[in-house]
């Protein structure tokens, strides 16, 4: 696309007009805004973007965008996105979802998507809750958080997604806060532009089931230091910080996944010959 055409794209060009199912005040509205602003800033034509999601409140996001979208089954967004990017390396593939979808039912796929390092950006809107099923603890919920399903709390330590992503080989790791759309937009531009698997945890409050998360806006702060290219150092930082460091934390330079489809290739080999006795 020409520079002129790229200039014309506005964030609103990427919205489908479908009204979200989200509650008033949900952090995901701002993630939707930041995502559209970031792809507009990158000048990516809507038809060249595919947004792939699983199941949950935040996973509804593809329908709210004017891009190609896939709203798949619970937890399987990353394999869908992986297959799509391998088949269509020309597309910008963004995978999006929540903490239950990505860290619990889809947890195993996260490890292997990080390892594989396919050039996709994974945006997890983390609100430490299953919102669509009306308030059950997720893998990032504090262990003493009381719920109908787990009276008195889960008694199980929460999961640390950024450390897992670093340990598994993600090539870009950042934490964003939905309440800061311009900061989130910058991080997403950086994540989409970075080659390989980029993982962005967006703290995105659930005002309905976790009204306490309204306080997040007073708790977030920039990281004390710039991002590192040393995964071990990044892991140490995120394991010891307060969980509210917002910004790019790690940028790696691992080789991308090698498998890719070339749709223009012509088949030269005579398959029949190899079966001849």
């Amino acid at each position: 696309m020409s520079a002129l055409a790229a200039c014309k794209l506005k964030a609103s060009d990427y919205k489908s007009g479908t009204r979200p199912v989200w509650c008033p005040g949900c952090g995901d509205y701002h993630v939707l805004l930041s995502l559209t602003k970031s792809v507009a800033e990158l000048g990516l034509p809507p038809e060249q973007i595919a947004v792939v999601a699983g199941i949950g409140c935040s996973s509804r996001i593809p329908a709210y965008l004017n891009c190609y979208g896939f709203h798949g089954v619970h937890g399987r967004a990353l394999p869908l996105a992986t297959g799509l990017k391998v088949a269509r390396p020309d597309l910008t593939v963004i995978c999006a979802g929540g903490d239950g979808d990505g860290f619990s039912i889809g947890g195993n796929h996260l490890l292997h998507a990080c390892r594989r390092n396919v050039d996709i950006t994974y945006v997890v809107m983390d609100n430490e809750i299953y919102g669509m099923t009306k308030g059950q603890p997720s893998p990032t919920t504090a262990q003493d958080w009381d719920s109908e399903l787990t009276p008195g709390g889960t008694g199980v330590s929460p999961f640390h997604p950024l450390v897992i992503a670093l340990a598994s080989g993600a090539n870009f790791v950042a934490r964003a806060f939905s309440g800061d759309p311009s900061g989130t937009t910058k991080i997403l531009v950086d994540a989409i532009s970075h080659p390989g698997f980029s993982f962005v945890q967006v703290l995105s409050p659930c005002v309905t089931y976790r009204p306490d998360q309204r306080e997040w806006k007073t708790m977030v702060h920039p990281p004390p230091v710039a991002f590192t290219t040393d995964a071990a150092q990044a892991a140490r930082r995120v394991m010891t910080d307060d969980g509210f460091n917002i910004g790019v934390l790690y940028k790696g330079s691992r080789d991308r996944y090698g498998q890719t489809v070339d749709c223009n290739a012509r088949y030269e080999r005579d398959l029949d010959e190899e079966f001849l006795v």
């Binding site: 595919a50 709203h71 798949g72 996105a81 799509l84 489809v261």
Partner: protein, 574 residues
């Protein structure tokens, strides 16, 4: 006994893993192919990963061979330790010859009790006379000699297989085979040579499946290893790469089916292969492919179930899972290849069906046809090729899930300007927006059902032979044994028979079936599972003759033609 059964020659080579009985079996098959024979080989292995007992079961003949015989002419044991489990698949009788090395402690009791002729051959001593000589090559030469295969054909096959290992390896193997061959031909006159053939193929069902996929236009595969389907994926890996395609190894079957669906959403014909437990995990993804209308092919190489079951043995017991496993009303297609060579055709057809209907297709192969290797005439190419109805010039009011007469809605591929839509497992309206409205649900359910039920499957839904008033209905690999059973029966019985081998299991084709069953007085359904899964399905979907009998039993032993011939013959007299 007809010509085929009469002329065929069955050899079992048995030995512990590592001695190379499977290699010897493959070389025997290749040598037979070189001198104009057809053949089939089955690999039988014990549960051990390495070092357990294994056997190569080889059957040779002058006509194409699609299954094992009931018994073996020759059983050669390189050693007999831990052979009980493998011997269960090898039936011998007083006319069989059992070859044993005198260095061993004699043959197992069951073999001695069979009354077979026991012949001693100093396999290990003969091999030791050659530098680098191996017992399996002596055994190969010996059984080739007994089968009337000239030494030259054996040597050629050895050259072909071991050529890249260097001269020393080829020479050692050839010399050992020559020694074995000369021992065999001293005891009986050499059999007459058949017409040499230059253009025979040797192919396994799993490789044939891979070939069908590639011929059909598949360019992406997702892979999670599972016995007995892995060879399909291993065969595809380098060949997809050569074709500009790709294979991704997935972390599990949940991932592999979703990777295949993702790639197909991008416009690339996609496949994955698995076996029962993997199919169970993929069912969730298959439901997504139904609802989001994304073409995908899943090859299920059936093994004995449920659960882990008997991974190395065939059974036709995933029929119900393939037909009924999806939740909701989920129209999809299920097809079954009915011989090793038909795996090429049926898989290629499956790719065509998936792409044309934008729906998932399950191919029900099984361990028997998947892992059997046959010598066959070249398998000709057919014209079915992946062709999707695409939306290329998209107008403002484009509807991805438009209600069309044939139920198939044009699909825009990502990158098509203006065609943006969200493929969804949520029920949706014609536009693709999520909808829980009854009208949308009904319209989309009707559309998805119609595109499968109204599609023109042509004559390929079944293979029908004969025109008798007694019909045999079967499917998949069991067709191989039923065909031979019918050939063996005397004309006065076989003239009364009609064989219907169902290739299209879902959707049901009641009108075509009614025509096929016109004038049929009695029907017998033959399948390899414990509960008669096809039989019960037929009862639900088809108008059947007043008398329907069944012959069904589970694995792990596949049917033998004699067993089926006996049952049919009895049934015809009832």
């Amino acid at each position: 006994m007809t010509d085929q059964a009469g002329k065929s020659f069955s050899v079992a080579l048995l030995g512990k893993g590592g001695v190379g009985v499977i290699t010897a079996g493959e070389l025997l098959l290749a040598a037979a192919a070189r001198c104009g024979r057809y053949g089939l080989m089955i690999r039988v292995v014990g549960p051990q990963i390495r070092g357990g007992e294994s056997a190569a079961l080889v059957r040779l003949g002058s006509e194409p061979i699609n299954c094992l015989d009931d018994r073996f002419d020759i059983l050669l044991g390189i050693d007999w330790k831990h052979s009980e489990q493998v011997l269960a698949d090898i039936s011998i009788d007083a006319d069989s010859i059992v070859v044993t090395d005198p260095a061993q402690d004699g043959v197992p009791g069951a073999i001695a009790a069979s009354g077979a002729h026991i012949r001693e051959l100093e396999l290990s001593s003969l091999a030791e006379t050659i530098n680098g000589g191996r017992v399996n090559m002596v055994a190969l030469g010996y059984v080739a000699g007994l089968a009337g295969i000239p030494q030259a054909a054996v040597t050629q096959s050895i050259e072909n297989k071991f050529g890249r290992k260097g001269r020393l390896s080829v020479d050692a193997s050839s010399k050992a085979a020559v020694l074995g061959h000369s021992e065999a031909t001293t005891s009986s006159p050499p059999a007459s040579l058949d017409e040499p053939q230059e253009n025979r193929w040797m192919i396994s069902g799993n490789h044939a499946t891979g070939l069908g996929a590639l011929r059909g236009g598949v360019r992406f595969a997702a892979a999670y290893p599972i016995t007995p389907a892995t060879e399909i994926l291993e065969w595809l890996a380098p060949r997809l790469k050569d074709a500009g395609g790709a294979l991704s190894q997935a972390e599990d079957e949940l991932a592999s089916i979703n990777m295949a669906i993702g790639a197909s959403f991008g416009g690339v014909p996609s496949i994955t292969a698995t076996s029962g437990p993997g199919l169970s995990l993929m069912i969730e993804g298959l439901g997504l492919a139904v609802c989001a209308e994304v073409p995908v092919v899943v090859v299920n190489v059936m093994r004995a179930g449920p659960s882990t079951g008997i991974p190395t043995k065939a059974e036709q017991s995933d029929f119900n899972a393939a037909i009924y496993g999806l939740h909701g009303d989920a129209p999809h297609i299920v097809v079954a290849p009915n011989s090793v060579t038909d795996c090429v055709y049926t898989t290629q057809w499956a790719v065509h069906l998936a792409e044309a209907t934008q729906a998932p297709v399950i191919v029900l192969s099984d361990q028997f046809i998947g892992q059997a290797i046959v010598v066959t005439d070249p398998i000709p190419a057919i014209s079915f090729f992946a062709k999707r109805k695409l939306a290329e010039n998209v107008s403002e009011d484009f509807e991805r899930y438009a209600i069309t007469a044939d139920g198939i809605s044009p699909m825009p591929l990502p990158g098509t300007p203006g065609g943006q839509y969200t493929a969804d497992g949520l029920e949706h309206n014609a536009k693709g927006a999520p909808s829980g409205a009854a009208a949308d649900h009904n319209a989309q359910l009707d559309k998805r059902a119609r595109k499968i039920s109204d599609f023109d499957y042509g004559q390929h839904w079944a293979d029908i032979d004969g025109d008798g008033e007694l019909a045999i209905l079967t499917w998949g690999s069991t067709t191989c044994m039923v065909r031979e059973a019918i050939q063996r029966l005397p004309d006065e019985i076989s003239d009364k028979l009609k064989l219907i081998s169902l290739r299209l299991l879902l959707p049901a084709k009641p009108i075509e079936m009614a025509a096929a069953l016109d004038g049929v007085e009695r029907l017998m359904v033959i399948e390899q599972n414990h509960t008669g899964q096809l039989y019960r399905y037929l009862r639900a979907w088809y108008d059947l003759p007043p008398i329907v009998d069944t012959m069904h039993r589970p694995g792990p032993s596949v049917f033998r033609p004699g067993e089926i011939a006996a049952r049919i013959s009895e049934w015809c007299d009832e």
